[in-house]
Amino acid sequence: MFKSNKKLALVDYQDSYYYLQKRKKQRRKWYKLIALGLLLSLLIVVIAPLARANTVNNAQENQTETASNGLIHGPQLVFNHPEQLQNIALPIDISADIEVNGLVAYAKIKQVFINPYNLELEAKYQFPLPEDAAIKHLKVQVGEQEIIGQIMEKQAAKAVYNSAKQQGKKASLVQQQRPNLFTNNIANIPAQSTVVVTLEFIMPVTFVDNKLSLTLPLAITTRYHSNDDQQSKTQQEIELTAPIAKSLADSQASINIALNAGASISTINSNSHKINSTAITQDQSSYLITLTHEQALADRDFTLHWQLQASQQPQISSFTEQVNGEYFTLLTFFPPQLESSATLARDIIFIIDTSGSMQGNSMTQAKTSLEQAILQLNEKDSFNIIAFNNTVDLLFPITHMASQRNIGQAQQFISRLQADGGTEMYRPLSQALIMDKAQQQTEKAIRQVVFITDGAVANEFELMQLLDGAQRNFRLFTVGIGAAPNGYFMKKAAQFGRGSYVFIQNNADVQSQMSALMAKISHPAISNISLMFDNQVHQQVEAYPKKITDLYLGEPMQVTLKSKLPITSVQVMGDTATLPWYQQVIVDDSRSAQAVSTLWAREKIADLLDSLVTGANKEQVKTEVIATSIAHQTLSPYTSFIAVEKPLENNVLTAKNRASTAKRQAKSLARAHENLMVAMPRTALGWHQQLLIGVLLMLLASLLLRYNKSKADAGLHEGNQHE
């Protein structure tokens, strides 16, 4: 092989330092150009859709109607007058018959409207139902036409709908945009005629600080509190319409209330109207209330307040109703008015979810509310905190008394909590159920478990089994935060644990709702409540709630019963802080009370539906739910509230007549739905914006660099020239 000893070095002039630099410079120039081009194209990619969005927006804005209706505070009829778009008529006469039974009120409100125009018109009837009210019956009378609204099976309701649709015009399906605004279309209202609407519904009585109150929406002023410009325009139109002003002046109301408080009443008053009240029983538990001026102006909502006589003992009242040969009994428990020191001690364990999904506001709020809850503890209470994600973190191994020192430790523990990791609920829950209580704690102290989570519960069956198998007596309060919690498990677990379920949809409300819960459960007056019936009756009683919760100070409670035989007496037992407690309730079934069976039916339906989740026969549940729903006129997922024109008897069926009835039928259909609210989470990442800012900054920087460089180059040239 040829082998050269000589080292040959070929020096290419292209490799010289000068050329290297030159090529480097050229390359760099290219890089810069490419980078600039990339940046620009990125910018265009980001900006282009934005520019297009603007044009699309403008095009769509005309087509879409933002669904919002202003707040309506009283019943009204909106006429479809050809000249004016909307004409609101207010009732000229309202008469309300209300029956209050303990904590539930049954209202029958009759309203008379007038069509003031010289035209046959169509109108929409609107009634703002009070919160948590449930509609039971509707009757609209226009001339000879009568519309009856009631609860029907969904299939049947749909059939009615479709046949009306096929017979003629488009059936207008009433979609509620706001919960509890009841609407119904009424067609063919003759000129200058009256429309009489009778609405029946039940609603709860509010109980705050041992004061009870009831509000009826009758106000026919201050409508439309909307910031929307369009709305305020319509408002102006309304106010300028003469007939409205007239009907406002003529509007009159009469209100009759049968108030069966269930316990002796100490005061009755109304802030809104002057009232007359007459006691109708000797123990002053029942009153008849009317307005002082029989025809009072209905220019504001009617409110009624009453207060029960203070009692050291819990009071239990009973109301009965008989429907289809079955006996329904409502037991209302009013808590005693005691010093808070006379209540039972608590052994409370907070379980707080610190999983990743709690991150941000949920966690901050949960921590704050937990800190507050700790501070609200009494000296006789003991407590502990369990924080969990996929691991479990305990404050103390067993519960400790709420002493200053322990509270300080707890505060430190809380401040260290951070949201991270997964959601494993089994271990913390099982630990809470078996955890020992502090040695200084009394025997009777109630173990309360407050379970705060936003997590979806995946292994609910295991958890339910865990609760089922628990040896110790405990109360479970579940708090669901945000859009995600598994409501079914949380509700069932709380029912099972004789507690309650709080669902906090808006995480800005966590603190207030939590402190409300803590205040509510802070003073258990009577625990371990059980009911005993006569032997014959006992087998056939169906009671809801199935497990009776404790009775807390300031928190009344209702139990509904159904039985085949009339219940004449119930024996109620429980534990107070010092002694066992016993009371016999004599059920007075001489007078039938409205709405008792509806309350029972509601609970029954909820229970039936819940059984679906644990694998009950779907068809069987459906049949039972429908039967219960129709018998007690209360809404369920399988039934609808539908208003149909009643076929007139003795009516000659002519072709013309039939056509017009079909038309009317189609138009008078209405449905009231049970409306649910779903939280709308934020559904935009906003990365476009960030990217845009980033790219702009980069562009600016590169421009600045270029500018600097050109300046520097110019400076160099200048320098060279000078030299």
């Binding site: 760099r28 979609q175 906003g686 914006q689």
Partner: protein, 214 residues
């Protein structure tokens, strides 16, 4: 880099404002780059997680197929071990040739990974509506192409299919943060922010697609 430093050295003695401007320029560049990287991380994460979720969904379907008759409660298979959620259903848009695995839950963490079914409307077999929310600028960006009468299929963890037809498309005001729903209809409701090309992450309107089961 070198030459720039050299240049700055060279020019440093010329004018004192040069290095400061230089520093500013580099600072801006770095901040801009960081912002862009962070911004592109969001859609990248959305895409990546969707791949993992698809995988875990297929796995879930496979195990489902194996244990057909077992009445055992469904075991949620998590897309990654520390996940706080699990796939609950798959949405397929036939016309758009698009499919998406939906996670359980509507919290921000979940929505960063995929569209999420909001409790208590996350029961596929129930009588209640099924409500899914997603980000307008990642998983649900294609919602703007969904048209009336489009067919959407929903496959649940048991492998059951349900077809829905788009019946309404509404744009609603979201100032209250809540949307009233008809409780007694088993509709499919898809929610995303509106307008689609809006910038920023706080939109006051929502695009709501309601589809009726067929």
């Amino acid at each position: 880099m070198n030459s720039l430093a050299e240049q700055s050295n060279k020019t440093a003695n010329k004018t004192s404002s040069k290095p400061r401007r230089m520093l500013l320029a580099w600072g801006l560049l770095i901040i801009g780059m960081l912002l862009s990287i962070q911004a592109s991380w969001l859609p990248a994460k959305a895409w990546l997680s969707q791949q993992l979720i698809q995988h875990s969904w297929q796995q879930a379907m496979a195990t489902q197929a194996n244990t057909v008759s077992a009445n055992y409660p469904q075991t949620a298979s998590k897309p990654w071990p520390w996940a706080d959620t699990f796939p609950i259903a798959e949405l397929a848009f036939q016309r758009l040739d698009k499919s998406l695995v939906v996670l359980n839950g509507g919290d921000p963490t979940t929505l960063a990974f995929s569209a999420g079914a909001i409790a208590p409307f996350n029961q596929t077999n129930g009588t209640k509506p099924f409500v899914v929310a997603g980000h307008r600028d990642s998983h649900f960006s294609f919602l703007k192409e969904v048209a009336m009468k489009d067919i959407i299929s929903l496959t649940d963890t048991q492998g059951r299919d349900q077809l829905y037809q788009v019946e309404r498309i509404d744009i609603v005001d979201a100032a209250s943060g809540q949307l009233p729903l008809l409780a007694d209809e088993s509709n499919l409701v898809l929610i995303t922010c509106y307008p689609f090309e809006g910038i920023g992450n706080d939109a006051n309107e929502r695009y709501v697609i309601t589809a009726r089961p067929i």
